[in-house]
């Protein structure tokens, strides 16, 4: 039994990864041509779409802040979601007088956000609208990043702030700046303390996995919907595994 468990433990990670990959590919191929996935309503994304349209009509900007997470860390996942949202916002606001502005607290994310904006405008045949200074790094440390982002919220006529990425408790400074500017704040982070602060200070919080569902809700592609379904399945798998492990531990089978 122990040998079985130890061998499973050794290759558990590979099995888990393969299972996730298989599920994503399965749903990606099987969902082609099918109707749109029926998702539960998340208030933040409903307001998000409305605010994007209002910002375009009012001639105001969208502000997307990607946080300070590095793609070399676990925090990179939330940064990639932020880049996906940036792409969708840039497309939605492509005909706006004022293109969206994005801020970040990490060099690689800054470069990637510039690249995302450029490729988005290129795909819309509007490459002349691309301005590299619309994607900017505002600080290297968390509080410096917050201090550098606050003027962008005040000065750029922002109508909606979207904070998606890795933030710490310093996000309270950003949401407060958004509230002072009377602009809507939609915030989501992978950090637990930041989520507590977001719940208290943001207009539309994204808690837990809701952040990672942004791609599916905003129509970023079939792969996002497929990975969302994979997450739903694996969540139940993990719940069952935790319960089974707890029972085995209680029974003394697991040491």
């Amino acid at each position: 039994m122990d040998q079985v468990l130890s061998s499973i433990t050794n290759y558990l990670g590979v099995l888990f990864i393969l299972l996730c990959l298989g599920l994503i590919l399965f749903y990606l191929l099987s969902d082609r041509g099918r109707a749109k996935l029926n998702l539960r309503s998340i208030q933040a994304f409903i307001h998000f779409r409305r605010e994007v349209d209002l910002a375009v009509e009012a001639g105001k900007r969208l502000h997307i802040s990607l946080g300070r997470g590095s793609i070399n860390d676990l925090q990179g996942g939330s940064a990639f979601i932020g880049l996906t949202i940036l792409d969708r916002c840039a497309r939605a606001a492509s005909n706006s007088d004022k293109p969206p502005v994005t801020t970040s607290g990490e060099g690689v994310i800054t470069v990637l956000s510039q690249d995302t904006l450029r490729s988005t405008y290129r795909s819309l045949a509007a490459e002349e609208r691309y301005d590299p200074t619309n994607a900017r790094m505002t600080g290297l440390t968390p509080l410096a990043y917050a201090a550098g982002t606050m003027p962008a919220i005040h000065d750029e006529q922002i109508s909606t702030n979207i904070f998606v990425g890795h933030f710490g408790t310093e996000i309270a400074l950003l949401t407060e700046a958004g509230e002072r500017n009377q602009s809507l704040t939609v915030a989501g982070s992978d950090s637990i303390p930041a989520q507590a602060v977001i719940y208290a200070t943001s207009d539309e919080p994204l808690l837990g996995e809701e952040l990672y569902a942004a791609g599916a809700y905003l129509g970023a592609g079939g792969a996002h919907s497929a990975s969302l379904r994979m997450q739903d399945i694996l969540r139940w798998v993990l719940v069952v595994a935790i319960m089974v492990g707890s029972i085995l531990k209680l029974l003394g089978i697991l040491s």
Binding site: N72, L74, P132, A146, Q231
Partner: protein, 207 residues
């Protein structure tokens, strides 16, 4: 070229990601490639830091050149950046002047911002129930108050032991359980995001 480059980027990203991932599970076979690729990633991350600083300088330089409002702050930033680079370059990162700049400007500013953060959090907590009148909010506020009371002895009252015990249980059992659940969800999302990039379905690198 415009069509070849995105495909090339995607191929490089996918192959690199697969080798690093396999290096975690099969270190004997893919360990060397993994270490090499990780070394390259660290160098690129350091260079990206410099690129971010350059981007910061360019943004503020454009602000000064466009004569917009607030360009005086941009001017101060650029001057500070140049002066700090000069001082640290001359005095060294551990030099007394460098440390004086750090201790005189960086530390007090960040500490002040954190103090402002504390005020903001207290203010947000005070108007949370009026802003979002739900049962979740009441539960949230009760938890906040219990943890606060158990963190330190109340002035003029002293430490309330039961509250400390409740605080300890609250932070270690339900709060951590919820946090673990959130973290598992975050981990699943991160895995999904990473796998989307590995199979080339998601290309944040502009491909």
């Amino acid at each position: 070229m415009k069509k070849i480059l995105p495909i090339t980027n995607a191929i490089i990203a996918v192959i690199s990601g697969i080798f690093v991932l396999l290096g975690y599970f099969f270190p004997g076979v893919f360990g060397g490639i993994q270490s090499t690729l990780i070394g390259w990633a660290i160098i690129l991350a350091a260079f990206a830091l410099l690129l971010g600083i350059f981007n910061l300088a360019m943004v503020h330089w454009k602000k000064i050149a466009s004569s917009k409002s607030g360009n005086i702050n941009s001017m101060v930033l650029l001057i500070s950046l140049v002066v700090t680079i000069l001082i640290v370059s001359i005095n060294g990162p551990a030099g007394s002047w460098s440390l004086w700049v750090f201790n005189s400007f960086q530390v007090p500013v960040e500490v002040s911002l954190l103090a402002v953060l504390a005020v903001i959090l207290v203010y947000a907590g005070a108007r949370l129930l009026a802003h979002r009148p739900k049962w979740n909010t009441i539960l949230f506020l009760v938890t906040v108050l219990v943890v606060l009371l158990g963190s330190a002895p109340l002035f003029f009252i002293g430490e309330i032991t039961p509250l400390s015990i409740v605080r300890g249980w609250l932070t270690q059992v339900p709060a951590i359980a919820g946090a673990r659940g959130l973290l598992i969800g975050v981990a699943l999302g991160t895995v999904a995001t990473g796998l989307r990039i590995l199979i080339g379905a998601d290309r944040p690198y502009g491909g």
